[in-house]
C-alpha cells in the first residue's frame, strides 16, 4: 500500500508541475480574443448568410461600396465608393470606386467585381437577396440594371423610384460585400455560384484575412497588411466557440478572452459588478412581440387583442430579465429613427382591465388558447410571465415550449411570441414586415411578412402610407408619415404587439477600446486597440 500512496503522490506532483505553466496570462496586446456561441453560424458567404455572428466576420473580411458608422448608423459614408450621385429622377445611382484596392489574393478590385457581387446576390435569391430585390431588382433584370462602366464606375439603376437613403443603406449591408470575382469564378462548382468555396473561404479585400475556420470550434483572422485603409492594430482576431454562458463568464473574468457574447442574464448581472469589465448593449432593429393569429375568431376581436396588451408586465420585465436584452417600447418605429416616440408607452400590466375588455368582447367566462414560445432566454421568461398574468384575467394559455417558427410561418398557431431582428437603420425595415401584407390569403404564402403570418389584413390606408414613406424623397415629409404611422399602429390594436425593442449585450474587458457593437451587424475590428490591463 505504501508504494501505491507514493505513486499517487508522484502522479499528483507531476500533474501540478504540468499545470503550473498554464498560468492565466492576459491576452496579448495585439490580439483580440472573442468568446461566442458559434452554433448558429452558417458559413461565410456574404451573399448567402443571414446571421449575426457570421455577418460580423464577413464585415471584416470584405469591403462594401458604402458603410454606416457604429455611432451614427443613419449617415452613409464612403467605403470602396469614394463618391456617388443620384440622378434627378431618383432611379439611377452612379458610384465612383477607389482605384487603390487589392483583394487578399492580390487581384485588383474593380467595378467589375462590384457588378459581379451585386448580381450574384440577386441571382442566388437566398435570404439576404431581399436587400436588393425589395427595390425591384430581379434575376431577370439585374444584368441590365447593375453594370460596370470602366474600372471605377458602377451604375445601379432601379425600375421604380424609392427614397435614396433606403437604397444606399442596402448597399452598405454585409450582403453587398464585394467578392473577388476572378477567385470565385475559379472555384465555381456546377451552378453553385462558388457558394461551396465561399462558405469556408475568404475572397475579400477587407482589413482581415481568414486564416483558420473550423465550425463550432475556432476562427482566426489575420490583419491584411495591404489594406487600403492601413493595417489594423490587432494583428489577429481569434474567435473561440464557448457555448456555455458560465464558461464565457469565467474566462472573461480571468482575462482569457476579451469579449464575451450572448451571455445569460445572471452572468451579465455578475459581470456588471466587475471593475475591469463593461457591459455594452447595442440596440437592434427589431422587437420582442406577441403574435395573435387572426384566423382565430376570438383573437380577431379587437378588444381581445387590446386585452393582451394589458397582460405584459412591462415594468417588471424591464427591471429583471430584460435589463440587458431590450428597452421597453410599445410603439412600432424603433428608437432614434424618424417618427419614433420613445417615451410613449401608454400600457401597463393590468389583468383586471384585460378581464373587462374580454367581457366587453363577449367572453365574460374567459377563453382558452394554445401559446407557442421558444424555450430560450429571455423569450421563454417573457412567455411564462404573460401566461401567469393571463390566468389572472381569465385567459388560460396552454404554454407549449418548442421550435414553432415553422408553425408560425405557416399560420398554424393561436398565440406565438418571439423576437425579430432586421438590419436596415430605417423605420421601413420594421414597417414593411409588421404593417404590410399585400395578399392575406393562405394561398399567397407570404411568410416573409410578419403581418401575413399573423393573418392580419392590414388596413389599406396604413399599407399605402408605408409604401408612400419608402418612396418619399423629402426627409421632413418622411418623418411626418412615420410619426403618423406610428400613432396609427399604436391605436389599431394590432395582432403583432410589441413590448421591447431588442438590444444585444456583450461583456468587454476595459483594456479593449474601439469595439462597438453595430446595430446593422457590421461590427468592425479595425478600430480596436488594447491597453495594458
Amino acid at each position: 500500500m505504501g508504494r501505491n500512496v507514493k505513486l499517487g503522490g508522484v502522479a499528483l506532483a507531476a500533474l501540478m508541475v504540468l499545470h503550473a505553466p498554464a498560468t492565466l496570462a492576459q491576452t496579448p496586446d495585439d490580439q483580440l480574443v472573442i468568446g461566442l456561441n458559434m452554433s448558429s453560424m452558417r458559413g461565410l458567404d456574404p451573399q448567402e448568410l443571414n446571421q449575426f455572428e457570421s455577418a460580423e466576420v464577413v464585415a471584416n473580411l470584405y469591403d462594401r461600396l458604402l458603410t454606416l458608422p457604429a455611432d451614427d448608423i443613419t449617415s452613409v459614408e464612403p467605403m470602396i465608393a469614394e463618391s456617388w450621385e443620384v440622378s434627378e429622377d431618383g432611379r439611377t445611382f452612379t458610384f465612383t470606386l477607389r482605384d487603390d484596392v487589392t483583394f487578399h489574393s492580390g487581384n485588383p478590385l474593380t467595378a467589375a467585381d462590384a457588378e459581379y457581387s451585386l448580381r450574384r446576390l440577386v441571382k442566388m435569391g437566398l435570404a439576404p437577396a431581399r436587400d436588393l430585390t425589395q427595390w425591384g431588382l430581379t434575376a431577370e433584370n439585374v444584368d441590365e440594371m447593375i453594370r460596370a462602366e470602366g474600372d471605377t464606375t458602377l451604375v445601379v439603376e432601379l425600375p421604380e423610384v424609392w427614397n435614396s437613403d433606403l437604397v444606399l443603406y442596402s448597399l452598405a449591408s454585409f450582403s453587398t460585400s464585394i467578392v473577388d470575382s476572378q477567385l470565385v469564378e475559379e472555384n465555381v462548382e456546377g451552378d453553385d455560384y462558388g457558394r461551396t468555396f465561399l462558405q469556408t473561404n475568404d475572397a475579400g479585400s477587407g482589413p482581415y484575412t481568414l486564416r483558420t475556420w473550423r465550425a463550432n470550434d475556432l476562427l482566426i483572422a489575420e490583419a491584411y497588411e495591404g489594406y487600403w485603409g492601413g493595417a489594423p492594430a490587432m494583428t489577429r482576431v481569434l474567435m473561440r466557440h464557448i457555448p456555455e454562458s458560465s464558461a464565457q463568464r469565467l474566462q472573461i473574468e480571468n482575462g482569457d478572452i476579451d469579449i464575451a457574447t450572448r451571455l445569460s442574464s445572471s452572468d451579465l448581472d455578475a459581470l456588471a459588478e466587475n471593475d475591469a469589465i463593461t457591459i455594452q448593449t447595442t440596440p437592434g432593429v427589431g422587437f420582442y412581440y406577441i403574435a395573435l393569429n387572426q384566423e382565430n375568431e376570438i383573437l380577431a376581436n379587437p378588444q381581445v387583442r387590446e386585452a393582451f396588451r394589458y397582460l405584459i408586465d412591462y415594468e417588471g420585465l424591464a427591471d429583471t430579465v430584460m435589463r440587458y436584452y431590450g428597452n421597453m417600447q410599445q410603439t412600432i418605429v424603433p428608437a432614434g429613427m424618424p417618427g419614433a416616440m420613445e417615451d410613449t408607452n401608454p400600457y401597463a400590466l393590468d389583468p383586471a382591465r384585460a378581464a373587462e375588455l374580454l367581457a366587453e368582447a363577449g367572453y365574460p367566462d374567459g377563453i382558452s388558447l394554445t401559446y407557442y414560445a421558444t424555450p430560450v432566454t429571455p423569450e421563454y421568461e417573457i412567455a411564462q410571465s404573460i401566461q401567469a398574468n393571463a390566468a389572472e384575467a381569465g385567459i388560460t394559455l396552454d404554454l407549449q415550449p418548442g421550435d414553432h417558427i415553422g408553425d408560425f410561418r405557416a399560420r398554424n398557431y393561436e398565440v406565438f411570441s418571439a423576437r425579430t431582428g432586421d438590419r436596415m437603420p430605417d423605420p421601413h425595415a420594421v414597417l414593411q414586415s409588421y404593417a404590410q401584407n399585400p395578399d392575406n390569403s393562405r394561398e399567397a404564402n407570404l411568410a416573409g411578412f410578419m403581418a401575413w403570418r399573423a393573418a392580419w389584413d392590414v388596413p389599406a390606408e396604413m399599407q399605402a402610407l408605408v409604401d408612400e414613406a419608402a418612396r418619399e424623397l423629402d426627409s421632413d415629409r418622411r418623418e411626418e408619415i412615420y410619426a403618423e404611422l406610428n400613432q396609427m399602429y399604436l391605436e389599431s390594436s394590432p395582432p403583432l404587439i410589441t413590448s421591447f425593442q431588442r438590444t444585444d449585450a456583450r461583456a468587454i474587458r476595459d483594456r479593449v477600446e474601439g469595439y462597438e457593437g453595430h446595430t446593422t451587424w457590421l461590427t468592425s475590428w479595425d478600430e480596436v486597440t488594447k491597453s495594458a490591463d
Binding site: P21, T200, R214, L218, P243, N254, I405, F408
Partner: protein, 351 residues
C-alpha cells in the same frame, strides 16, 4: 508406412467454412448498420427542427425558403431521399453538413480523433486505477481499502458528470489557475500542429513541438480525469465483484493448498480467469466513452464527436447526424468484433 495423423492442411471445405463465417459476420454488420441508418433517418425526420429555417433564418421570405427546401432535396418523397443517401454512402459520399459547410467525412476526420483521444485517456485512467482498486478491495474485503473503493464507486456513480466538470473548472481553473478553461490546446498554439493522426498530443510529440504537446496534454488532463473518475468507479466495482467470484472458487483453495503464494493465487490464478469478463466491461466502457462524452465535451469546450452530433441534431443537420451515427455504429461493431477475437486468445475454451 508410418502410422499417425497427417499434418493438418485446410482443404477446400475448411476454407469455404471460414469464408462462410466471415461472410455471415459481414452481413450481420451490414444489416446492423443499415438498421441503424433507417432508424436514425426516420427519427431524424420526426425531429421538429426545420433545417431550412436553421439555414436561412426565420425572417427570410418564402422564395428563399422554397429555394433552399429544394436544394436540400426535401421536396422529394422520403423513400427517394433515403435511397439517394444510401446510394451515396455506398460510394463513401456522406454528403455535406449544412452547419459547417464541409463534407461530413472531413468534419468527422477532425472531431472523431479528438473524442478518441479523450476517451482513450479516460479509459486508461479508469482501467489503471479501477482494476487494481477493485482487485485489492476484493482481496481485502471489509478493510479500509474496501471502504475507500466503495466510496469511490458510489460517488463516481452518483455524481452527475457535467456537474463534476463544472466544479473542477470552478476550483482548478477559476480558483487555483492550475488548469486551462477548456478546448484541446492553448489558443495561441492553435494550428501549429496539424495531422497526421489527429491525436493532438501524439502529433505534437511526433513533430517535436514540445510546447504544443505540453499545452495539449495540459488541456487533456482535466476532462480525462473527470471522465476517468466515473470510469474508475464502474471498473473498480465490476473488478471487485469478478474477483470475489473467483476467490470463492474451489481451484483457489487448491492453489493455496499447493502452497502458491498469495500474489500468485490472486494474479496468476484468479485474475487470469476474470480477464474475459473484465475485457467485456472495459470494451463496453470504451464504447460508452466514444459516444457518451457529450456533456464533458460541452463543459470543457472539447471539439469532439459528441458535441458535433448534438449540435447537428439540434439544427436538423441530417447528413452530419447520419454520418456521426454510422461512425459510432461502426466503432461499436468493430470493438465487439475485436472483443470476440480477444476472447478466443484469452479463453482456451472458446478455441
Amino acid at each position: 508406412m508410418t502410422v499417425g495423423s497427417p499434418p493438418y492442411r485446410p482443404d477446400g471445405r475448411a476454407w469455404l467454412s471460414a469464408a462462410r463465417k466471415v461472410g455471415t459476420s459481414l452481413s450481420v454488420v451490414a444489416i446492423t448498420l443499415f438498421g441503424l441508418l433507417v432508424i436514425t433517418f426516420v427519427v431524424g425526420r420526426m425531429v421538429p427542427a426545420d433545417p431550412v429555417i436553421a439555414i436561412i433564418g426565420d425572417q427570410a421570405d418564402q422564395a428563399a425558403y422554397d429555394r433552399v427546401y429544394q436544394e436540400l432535396g426535401l421536396d422529394r418523397p422520403l423513400v427517394v431521399q433515403f435511397g439517394t443517401y444510401v446510394r451515396d454512402i455506398a460510394t463513401l459520399d456522406f454528403g455535406r453538413s449544412h452547419l459547417s459547410r464541409n463534407e461530413v467525412a472531413t468534419d468527422l476526420a477532425r472531431v472523431f480523433p479528438a473524442t478518441v483521444e479523450l476517451a482513450t485517456a479516460a479509459l486508461l485512467i479508469g482501467t489503471l486505477l479501477g482494476v487494481p482498486l477493485g482487485v485489492v478491495a476484493a482481496v481485502r474485503r471489509g478493510t479500509w481499502i474496501d471502504q475507500v473503493a466503495r466510496v469511490v464507486g458510489l460517488v463516481g456513480y452518483s455524481t452527475p458528470i457535467f456537474w463534476l466538470g463544472m466544479i473542477v473548472i470552478l476550483i482548478f481553473y477559476a480558483g487555483l489557475g492550475w488548469i486551462p478553461a477548456g478546448n484541446r490546446v492553448g489558443l495561441y498554439y492553435e494550428g501549429l500542429v496539424e495531422g497526421p493522426t489527429g491525436f493532438l498530443v501524439l502529433d505534437a510529440v511526433l513533430a517535436a513541438e514540445w510546447d504544443v504537446a505540453k499545452s495539449a496534454l495540459g488541456h487533456l488532463v482535466a476532462p480525462a480525469l473527470v471522465l476517468g473518475w466515473a470510469n474508475t468507479a464502474y471498473i473498480s466495482r465490476m473488478s471487485r465483484s469478478f474477483m470475489l467470484e473467483q476467490l470463492n472458487q474451489e481451484y483457489i483453495l487448491t492453489a493455496r493448498a499447493k502452497g502458491a503464494t498469495n500474489n500468485s493465487v490472486i494474479w496468476r490464478h484468479a485474475f487470469a480467469n476474470m480477464r474475459v469478463q473484465l475485457l467485456t466491461v472495459i470494451a463496453l466502457a470504451y464504447c460508452g466513452l466514444l459516444d457518451g462524452t457529450v456533456l464533458i465535451e460541452t463543459v470543457f469546450g472539447w471539439p469532439g464527436l459528441g458535441q458535433y452530433l448534438t449540435t447537428a441534431l439540434f439544427f436538423a443537420d441530417m447528413n452530419a447526424v447520419l454520418g456521426a451515427v454510422l461512425l459510432i455504429g461502426l466503432i461499436s461493431v468493430g470493438i465487439n468484433l475485436l472483443c470476440d477475437v480477444a476472447y478466443r486468445l484469452l479463453d482456451p475454451r472458446t478455441k
